[in-house]
Symmetry: C2
Subunit: 278 residues, 2 copies
């Protein structure tokens, strides 16, 4: 049964992504930080790691792209989770009892308007994880405090959901990638995606020339994002995902051409594409 | 003396950006939300608005791009602020007294490691604004609580800085844009930047063809980012900044060509380029 490290406590959205990817056989291993997920996967303490790389509302998680660059792990898969936040409290607690809310900053931010409407003036306390927020409410036996987390977190800690679907925007998806010491080798017919990071010289047309590698071969891009290169304020890194497998001949030619027109290319992995959840 | 709306309390980084842009004559007007900044600027209650659009660590502020799309305001300038966070507390308070820290979620996140080292196990409380956090510590006279905010916020509220430069990563810059009901008309020789949003059909090579508009004319891009179009999960919007003024003949040709190869183009404004702070 494969072990897979994730950031947070049992019931975190990352844990749900691990089950989505590996099925019920998965053995998720909670870790306190993203760094620990990368370190333990690299050191072989777990079989895999799983981390979020982008949210449909908040954008890319740059910290995890930085960690991908600092480590030599491969992306071997992706999982897309529909983020549905719930207000969770001790049994018998009602809305008027609640003076403070615990959650991860991103969950607090994503429920900002709904919280303002349901609980005007409530204190928002930022903790390291959504499921950890539920655990804290339970352990501290706080009747004046609610947590924002997944339904699964409520079930795991045996607490009732006071309000479900409290996120401001229902089109809230997070995309996770699965990390391994060995690259994936998906069968030839599997629809795949490839993730990479590249840099170009800061000259007009440099990005256009780099993208010709894909456009000339009708390779579809599913993501591109420029990011200032740290320490070099006017140079840019690009995160890019394309549809295809680096071992396909056409994609291999595209990558060879991209290398010719870039100052740096690192392929993070080719892996089977995930479907959007319902 | 021009009035300029910003999100937060006096001493917020957005207020500093307003002074950087308009000089000491600026009359910054604090507003509780980004929505209020856009609404008051649109309604003519203030001359200008100023909002953050990207941070070098956290990435783009998608909410403000969404607001730019929903309003008809023009970007007439930019300001780049070096974000330097400080730990601020009541006079006489020392590190061992501190049990909780108030700040905006982004500031708490950007000081995560340093806080863990200086104040292990400290409670992180998320409030709506960094300078507002200082105001709360002062008003509540809390001797067990510190705020994370700018040096100017400490000075405004007359509180001492316990530790300065507590951000985990010193390459921490935020880029703000200035909003107006009227477009800017910079003199012809001014080095300018133009910001726009566009969408393409989701077909291979669509982005490449769109970017030809700039590459064929040696127009330099300073930012590009794809973002899933809300409600259309597999379609993408792009945020793009290029170096040049839309009223220059070459840039006008580029924009005409971009429109031909896009399903949607909205130019947010052409404005003088800001320098990176020291």
């Amino acid at each position: 049964m494969p072990t897979i490290a994730f950031q947070g406590e049992p019931g975190a959205y990352s844990e749900q992504a691990a089950f989505d990817f590996l099925g019920a056989q998965a053995q998720p291993v909670p870790r306190p930080t993203f760094d620990a997920v990368f370190d333990d996967t690299t050191a072989g303490k777990v079989d895999f790691g799983i981390v979020p790389v982008e949210n449909s509302l908040a954008g890319s998680v740059h910290r995890n792209y930085d960690l991908l660059m600092r480590h030599t792990l491969h992306i071997i898969g992706e999982a897309i989770v529909r983020v549905r936040h719930n207000l969770i409290a001790l049994p018998g607690v009602e809305l008027p009892d609640i003076r403070r809310v615990y959650s991860h900053w991103q969950a607090l931010d994503q429920c900002e308007h709904t919280l303002g409407r349901l609980l005007p003036g409530v204190e928002r306390v930022q903790v390291y994880d959504t499921a950890g927020a539920v655990k804290m409410v339970l352990e501290e036996q706080r009747r004046d405090t609610a947590a924002i987390a997944s339904k699964r977190a409520a079930e795991l800690y045996g607490l009732p959901v006071l309000r479900d679907g409290i996120e401001d925007d229902p089109t809230n998806f997070t995309r996770f990638v699965v990390l391994s010491r060995q690259p994936a080798s998906p069968p030839a017919a599997t629809p795949c995606k490839t993730s990479l990071v590249f840099a170009t010289r800061n000259t007009p047309g440099a990005l256009y020339k780099a993208l010709a590698a894909f456009a000339l071969r009708d390779i579809d891009l599913s993501k591109i994002e420029s990011r200032p290169l740290q320490g070099s304020p006017w140079e840019y890194l690009f995160y890019l995902d394309f549809i295809g497998n680096q071992s396909d001949e056409v994609c291999a030619h595209a990558l060879a051409q991209l290398r010719e027109f870039s100052t740096f290319v690192r392929v993070l992995g080719s892996y089977p594409r995930a479907n959007m959840p319902a």
